[in-house]
């Protein structure tokens, strides 16, 4: 029986970085899952996603977040990335699991579901939208203040429907 859920690529950062990109993603799957496990170099960092290198304000999110004492909802529109945890409040360790639905479709916008889990600080679930009909061929996990720590592991999986 053919494999349905396959690892496409994986890496462990050997030094801190502000971003990591998976490029030349094959179009042969139905959905993608990106698992990022690690830490940030600063408590103000947040984990975000950009698709196909698009830095335009073509992203938006609807999020539910709990901090241990507070639960709240947020929405952000016309942003230049999909925010996985809305605001950085901890350096981690954390896990981001990004489910990227129907990524190879070339006629509709792309919706992403992301769970961000940091047992010491927060948990959040987010629906993100990229307003582009382009098939996704590259994915960038990015932070802005100031980096992703050495030792962080990023693994991209493909899920193939019958």
């Amino acid at each position: 029986m053919p494999a349905t859920y396959e690892p496409i690529a994986t890496t462990t950062l050997s030094s801190s970085a502000t971003s990591y990109t998976f490029s030349s993603i094959p179009s042969t799957y139905t959905d993608l899952v990106l698992v990022v496990a690690g830490t940030f170099t600063n408590t103000n960092s947040g984990g975000n996603l950009r698709l196909n290198g698009d830095t335009g304000t073509n992203y938006s999110t609807t999020a539910l977040r709990g901090t241990g004492t507070t639960v709240y909802a947020t929405r952000s529109i016309n942003r230049s990335f999909i925010a996985g945890n809305e605001d950085g409040s901890s350096s981690g360790p954390w896990i981001f699991i990004w489910n990227i639905n129907n990524y190879a479709n070339a006629s509709t916008y792309k919706t992403v579901l992301v769970r961000a889990s940091d047992a010491g600080a927060y948990v959040s679930e987010t629906a993100g939208l990229w307003r582009s009909t382009s098939a996704i061929n590259s994915i960038t996990f990015i932070t802005f203040d100031p980096g992703i720590s050495s030792g962080t592991t990023l693994t991209l999986y493909g899920i193939k429907a019958a």
Partner: protein
């Protein structure tokens, strides 16, 4: 999976079937589901054909084995609608997600409601059936009808699940661009 460990290779996650909407039916059904897996996962992206000129309030639901007996399904959920974090629960005739499904307004034309549903121990003939769900919709627009939600559901019935139906309540049908994929997860 922690930093420094090798990646997880989920070789026991198997595609069973994919179904698409027809544009003329408010249900999508998987039937004849084999009992050879331990758990099931549904991954979907769906959309409602209805376009009444306003954002609709039609919602997604799910039921098993064709059964819609009142009071045999329950769900609890937490959700965010962009402005508030909320929670509720209900006992109904199906596992209603109370999640507004994207309709076919022009400004929603390229957008879908997406979700992942895990149905645990579906082939058991001694346990009631439980499921957990993550469902989300975002449209780059400030409306409380666009939500992200985490939900748990129960079907108070010990029958093995052999068919699963997703449906739209309130109006409209699944567009022919709607797609639902069913996967089986093997146990040891």
């Amino acid at each position: 999976m922690l930093a420094g460990n090798t990646f997880y290779d989920p070789a026991n996650f198997i595609s069973i079937a994919t179904a698409t909407g027809t544009g003329s039916s408010n249900t999508i059904t998987f039937s004849g589901i084999p009992s050879t897996y331990k758990h099931l996962q549904i991954r979907f992206r769906v959309k409602d054909t209805e376009n009444l000129g306003v954002r609709n309030t039609n919602i997604l639901g799910l039921y098993f084995n064709g059964s819609t007996t009142a009071g045999t399904y329950g769900k609890h959920r937490i959700y965010g609608d962009g402005t508030s974090a909320l929670a509720d629960g209900s006992s109904t005739s199906q596992m209603s997600f109370s999640q507004t499904i994207i309709c076919s307004l022009p400004d929603e034309d390229q957008i879908f409601t997406v979700g992942i549903i895990d149905i645990v121990d579906y082939a058991s003939t001694t346990k009631n059936k439980t499921a957990k769900m993550i469902i989300g919709t975002d449209a780059n627009f400030a409306s409380t009808q666009y939500k992200i939600q985490l939900a748990s559901g129960v079907w108070v019935n010990t029958d093995a699940v052999t068919s699963i139906t997703l449906n739209i309540s309130g109006g409209g049908n699944f567009t022919n661009t709607s797609s639902v994929a069913l996967y089986g997860i093997k146990g040891a």
